[in-house]
Each structure stands twice: as structure tokens, then as C-alpha cells.
């Protein structure tokens, strides 16, 4: 009650942000996955060059 009078408590957007938690983490893993693949490829292609 006291907390609510000082700080607004509005869990209505909770579902949206929970969904974004999942989507955000998946996106990060996907992008980093692509970067790992590219790095492995770069290492393979240019491994002999100085």
C-alpha cells in the first residue's frame, strides 16, 4: 500500500515484457551464433595468411 503510494505499480505490461525476455534472449543467441559462424569461416579461409 505504502509502496504503491510512492511508486506506481502497474503489472499490465508484464506479459509484453515477459515475451520480450524470451524473444530478446533468442535474438541475442541467434546474432551471436551467426557471428561465431562467420568468425569460424574467417579463421578457416584466412588461416594460412599472415
Amino acid at each position: 500500500m505504502l509502496l504503491n503510494s510512492i511508486i506506481q505499480y502497474s503489472p499490465d505490461k508484464m506479459f509484453d515484457s515477459l515475451k520480450f525476455l524470451g524473444v530478446g534472449m533468442l535474438s541475442i543467441f541467434a546474432v551471436i551464433g551467426v557471428i561465431i559462424l562467420i568468425t569460424v569461416l574467417l579463421n578457416k579461409i584466412f588461416s594460412g595468411k599472415k
Binding site: S10, K13, M14, G24, I28, I32, I38, N43, G48
Partner: protein
């Protein structure tokens, strides 16, 4: 008497201290003093905390001339933070400091950088209970453990005039300084002694110069295509790294790493204090934001460690990962990598985790910038 009244302006400021709400000024001086104390006594991010601390005192002197429409700090704020110039220029310096070598030699480490961004999204979720979504997203990015990213995201989503931007900036930088205090207990709580003793031999593969040159260019393109909003963040960071790796701009690389980074850091820390005026800072929301920032750092660390432990289930006995290195995935470069390395040495003086932890730490830098870009690019937060 009239003669004396003409000098009344000399005590205007002192009178304000005893008016309603005047107590806030000395409280802010104490906060500024605390930041200076932490910087000098404990060597905590002194390049940032000291200017921030002094700036806090400066802006909280009643009727201070450094703020207000034509104040020097207001001018600096508009010139460098409101338009995100300072954090982005600082990124050139940070990029020039980063050696992606350990990461390029073992690219699989990058996965920990992704895992350790969990704190951002978890804190965003928790913050959405108390704040509007753009505010919650900006608070979540404190978990990027990367001051420039936090500033850019908060500015873009909330605008520089928002009354919570100051608290977000202070939390982002303060917790970065507190990484050596925040991370060890979380890591210890989630790992057994046996896990902390896992040795990880470092056998670097040679990385060609061409790979080192192409890496920053390709990362910028990939991140830019997926999250166009992250182009400024990734681009400036990678430009700095390209200067370092190209081999023909050594003088510029030195300048970016030292003079440029130091110069911008001085102005950045000093100018951030502009958002620490007592009337805006001393509110319940500030305490809540500081608390949520701590949640972000703790969950970043925890998820990095848990993810490494999860991977260990599938790895053969001789290939196990020391789960502590997962914690280095939070961006705070290079403190987090060093913290993990020191913890490893404390458990076993022959266990050198530095190259692994720095590799993970660097990947956290990339992942945090991409996370910031993803949040900026999501219409939900606009």
C-alpha cells in the same frame, strides 16, 4: 540598513539550505563525497566516479551557476550527452583498447557473452511492474554493464530531459565500478569449489591479420543488418578496433586508447552529474532504479555462470569449462575478466583463466551493444 540589504544576495544560497527541501543539498554533497571517497580510497573506476562525485557537489550548490540555461555543465550536456556524442566517441577509444585475439582464437567463447545479457531482459521484465515500457527498457540496459550503451539507449527512448536518465547513468557507472564487489559472492554462491578449480589450458590458434581486420567490418555489417539501431554503437566500437588492427594507424590507435578515451571520460563523468540535481535525484524512483540495476548485474553474472554449468553437462570430462568464466560475459571490460581471473588464482595459484575470461568479457561487450540495438529497434519500447 538599506545598505546592508543590498548585500543580502550574498546569503541567498545559504538561506535556501534552511528552506523547505533544503536538506536535499547536503545529502547530495554527501553522495558526491561518497563517490569521491570510493574513487580515491578503493580505486573504484576513479576516472568516472571522481568527476561524477565532484560534479554532483557542483550542481547541488544552491543557485549553482554551472547548471541552468547557460550553465557550463548544461552546455557540455547538450553538446555531448543529449546528442550521444561523448559515449559514442568513448566507444572509439574502447574499441581501440580491445584485443579480439583471444576471442577470434576461440570463437565459441562468444556464446557466454550472449548468455550474460539475461540480466538486461530479466530486469526489463521486473521493471515493467513499476515503470512504463520505454523506462523499463532503459533501466534494463543498466545490465549491459556498459555506460555508453546505457546512455545512448536511455537518451533515445526517454529523451535527455527525462527525470530518470540521471539515475540510470549513475547506476550504470557505479555498478561497473562495483563489479569486483558484486560478482564474487554471486559466482561463489552458484559454484562448488571443485568447479572453481577446473583448469582450462590455453592453447591459442594463430589468427591472421586479415581476419583481425575483417572481423570489425563484418560484425558491424551483421549487427547493423539485424539491428539497424545498433549501427552507431557497434560501428564506433568496431571503428576503434579497426584503427588498432589495421597496422598503419598506430599513432591514432594510441591516441584513441589513451588521450581521446581519457579526455572524453573526464567530460562524460563530469557532465553526467548534470542529471544529479537534488530535486530530480532524491526520489523513491531513484532508489528503485539503483535496486533494479543491482538486480541486472546479479542476474547477468548468475545466468552466465549457470549457462556454463549447463554446457558442462554435455562436455567430456577433460573439456569441462570453469563456470566462473561465464560471469565475465557481462560487458564491464576489463574488470569482469580480471575478477574471474583473480578468483581462479585464489582457488588455485596455477589456474590461469585470464585469456579465457578476457575473451568472454570482450564477447560480452559485443553482445551488450547488440542487446542495446535490439531494444532500440523494438517498436514496443518507443
Amino acid at each position: 540598513m538599506e545598505f546592508l540589504q543590498s548585500f543580502e544576495f550574498l546569503i541567498e544560497g545559504i538561506k535556501m539550505l534552511f528552506e523547505n527541501g533544503g536538506w536535499k543539498y547536503p545529502v547530495m554533497w554527501a553522495i558526491g563525497g561518497l563517490l569521491i571517497f570510493l574513487a580515491i580510497r578503493f580505486d573504484m573506476e576513479p576516472t568516472l566516479l571522481l568527476p561524477m562525485g565532484f560534479g554532483t557537489i557542483l550542481v547541488n550548490i544552491p543557485l549553482s551557476g554551472v547548471i541552468g540555461k547557460d550553465g557550463a555543465l548544461t552546455t557540455l550536456f547538450n553538446a555531448g550527452i543529449a546528442n550521444e556524442l561523448f559515449p559514442l566517441i568513448l566507444f572509439i577509444g574502447i574499441g581501440a583498447m580491445i584485443d579480439f585475439g583471444p576471442l577470434l582464437s576461440n570463437p565459441k567463447l562468444m556464446i557466454f557473452g550472449a548468455a550474460a545479457q539475461f540480466g538486461i531482459f530479466f530486469t526489463l521484465f521486473v521493471s515493467s511492474f513499476f515503470f512504463k515500457l520505454p523506462e523499463a527498457a532503459s533501466i534494463g540496459v543498466i545490465g549491459a554493464a556498459d555506460g555508453p550503451t546505457a546512455i545512448v539507449v536511455a537518451n533515445e527512448l526517454l529523451g535527455p530531459k527525462s527525470n530518470i536518465t540521471g539515475a540510470i547513468m549513475v547506476a550504470a557507472y557505479s555498478y561497473m565500478a562495483l563489479v569486483p564487489i558484486i560478482q564474487p559472492p554471486v559466482i561463489k554462491a552458484l559454484t562448488t569449489k571443485k568447479e572453481r578449480l577446473i583448469r582450462m589450458p590455453y592453447s591459442p590458434k594463430s589468427v591472421s591479420k586479415l581476419t583481425k581486420i575483417l572481423f570489425p567490418i563484418i560484425i558491424t555489417a551483421v549487427a547493423g543488418l539485424v539491428a539497424p539501431e545498433s549501427v552507431a554503437l557497434v560501428g564506433f566500437l568496431m571503428f576503434g578496433n579497426l584503427i588498432r588492427e589495421c597496422g598503419v594507424l598506430n599513432s591514432l590507435s594510441d591516441t584513441a586508447q589513451n588521450v581521446l578515451a581519457n579526455l572524453v571520460t573526464i567530460f562524460l563523468g563530469f557532465t553526467i552529474a548534470c542529471r544529479m540535481e537534488a530535486t530530480e535525484f532524491l526520489r523513491p524512483q531513484t532508489l528503485l532504479i539503483l535496486g533494479l540495476g543491482l538486480v541486472a548485474f546479479i542476474f547477468d553474472t548468475a545466468f552466465g555462470v549457470i549457462f556454463a554449468k549447463f554446457l558442462n553437462i554435455f562436455l567430456p570430462r577433460d573439456k569441462k569449462i570453469n563456470p566462473m568464466i561465464g560471469a565475465a560475459g557481462i560487458s564491464a571490460f576489463p574488470m569482469s575478466g580480471r575478477v574471474v581471473h583473480k578468483m581462479g588464482l585464489k582457488e588455485d595459484p596455477q589456474n590461469f583463466l585470464l585469456m579465457h575470461s578476457i575473451g568472454v568479457n570482450v564477447s560480452g561487450q559485443i553482445a551488450s551493444v547488440i542487446a542495446g540495438g535490439l531494444i532500440l529497434g523494438t517498436p514496443l519500447f518507443r
